[in-house]
Amino acid sequence: MANPGGGAVCNGTLHNHKKQSNGSKSGTGTKNGIMKEAQQNGKPHFYDNLIVESFEEAPLHVLVFTYMGYGIGTLFGYFRDFLRNWGIEKCNAAIEREEQKDFVPLYQDFENFYTRNLYMRIRDNWNRPICSAPGPHFDVMERVSDDYNWTFRFTGRIIKDVINMGSYNFLGLAVKYNESMRTIKDVLETYGSGVASTRHEMGTLDKHKELEDLMAKFLNVEAAMVFGGCLILSDELNHTSIVLGARLSGATIRPFKHNNIQDLEKLLRDAIIYGQPRTRRAWKKILILVEGIYSMEGSIVNLPQIVALKKKYKAYLYMDEAHSIGAVGPTGRGVREFFGMDPDDVDVYMGTFTKSFGASGGYIAGKKELVDYLRVHSHSAVYATSMSPPIAEQIIRSLKLIMGLDGTTQGLQRIRQLAKNTKYFREKLKEMGFIIYGNDKSPVVPVLLYMPSKVAAFARHMLDRKIGVVVVGFPATPLAEARARFCISAAHTREMLDTVLEALDEMGDLLHLKYSRHRKSALPVLNDEMNFELDD
């Protein structure tokens, strides 16, 4: 921890900032103290976290039936396309105009075919409008479709008190107005709701400075930027937004198998030995791009081994903690703290405020030089308006809550409650016999459904029982691996989880979803309790 510098900056849009962040702050002494203590406490549980990540394969008949189901859907899709083409049936989908028929076809690829013929049939399970805050319970507007999901209309009724298992509300901070939010009301009254300027011009408020200082303290940070002649090694399951950003940077991208250290090492060795593809010159920089928690699998990145590799081959590490900040780690500081590693091990931290903090926007944190460079050169600092003050205040409030700076232990209690809920939920699901992906400690729980019509039936039945779930299908996941993704929250009580588990049990029997071969096996109790015995 020799370098007390570094800053974290944030803005209304992802990735950019421009602010003079004060490098050495008054809290340096305490910061180092906290860090050392966490290190000492962290060492023992680092080895316990080399865990149980399971990606069990489905039984063969399930895969056969899944592909068969898609095959039948595809056949009917061709049939309906034929009818639509010949005018026997009215076409509600987007088609090209008559004059464009001789140009390159726009809607003939598989994705459009899939959307038109398979997705449309079960479309009522997505984009459901809600009309309350996305807390542990929420209200869903009831809607029906008269023409098989091409158009919807609202009946005017509202389904009240649906249990929310889909929002990224890990710490339960996205709730209706309550007294602790009074500071936000005051900020709204003082600053108004908009900033009406970019960071470079007049859009930098003292609220932004306060937020950035607090964020740097939270993450304990202080970088590699990617220029041309650089290589990016990116995990194959990285989110589309990261992949697009990497492509825009102009560097060469090579994917490695998900969380597979041997594959990554092989790629690193090849890159260093053979250099750039045609000129054989050395790469200027090699950047490894990973996520903290992968949103579709619920797996946690294998950070200690990746950091060891990075140090051995002198590469840089960029970690996207969108789902893991605030949700894992003994004090909620993300995957780095979960494994008990040094904050300097990761070069660039990126994260969002939309998930655990209940606001909007994102941040990038790292060494001071990196952040200063971004402040000056990033596009949105120049062109986009900065973060709105009430939102900044909400993030400040959440951060203070999590860090315990508001004087209560509520933040720590929420984090522990989240961990308890996660453990309970995952254990029970495994006992019941569902196939679940991901790390045992991750609050994102994907339950595999496989067949497309089970996906639709599952979502509809769960809504009938007043539980709102998110189901995910083809373009976001591989074709045969459709799943339902549960996001556990600290605001879920044991009764709510029990209701959900009971409903899942019945659904599992009705739809025959309990594929796992390890039903009712006695799981060895991992030493989880040790992780939470920090003195506070």
Binding site: G69, F76, L511
Partner: protein
Amino acid sequence: MDFRRVKEYFSWLYYQYQIISCCAVLEPWERSMFNTILLTIFAMVVYTAYVFIPIHIRLAWEFFSKICGYHSTVSN
């Protein structure tokens, strides 16, 4: 009482069939079309089995017994 249980079981089985073969997400006329085609194919299979399997078995039996018979007459 037992009848109801059996009926429930069959209706669960029919639901499983609908789910697995994507009939649950098809429109009603598509469903009837699919069921008709499937039943037709199944009926043809059953008919063909009924008509041809006994004859085939008899012919195969004769063929193999002739070989064994020839073999035994030669060895004699």
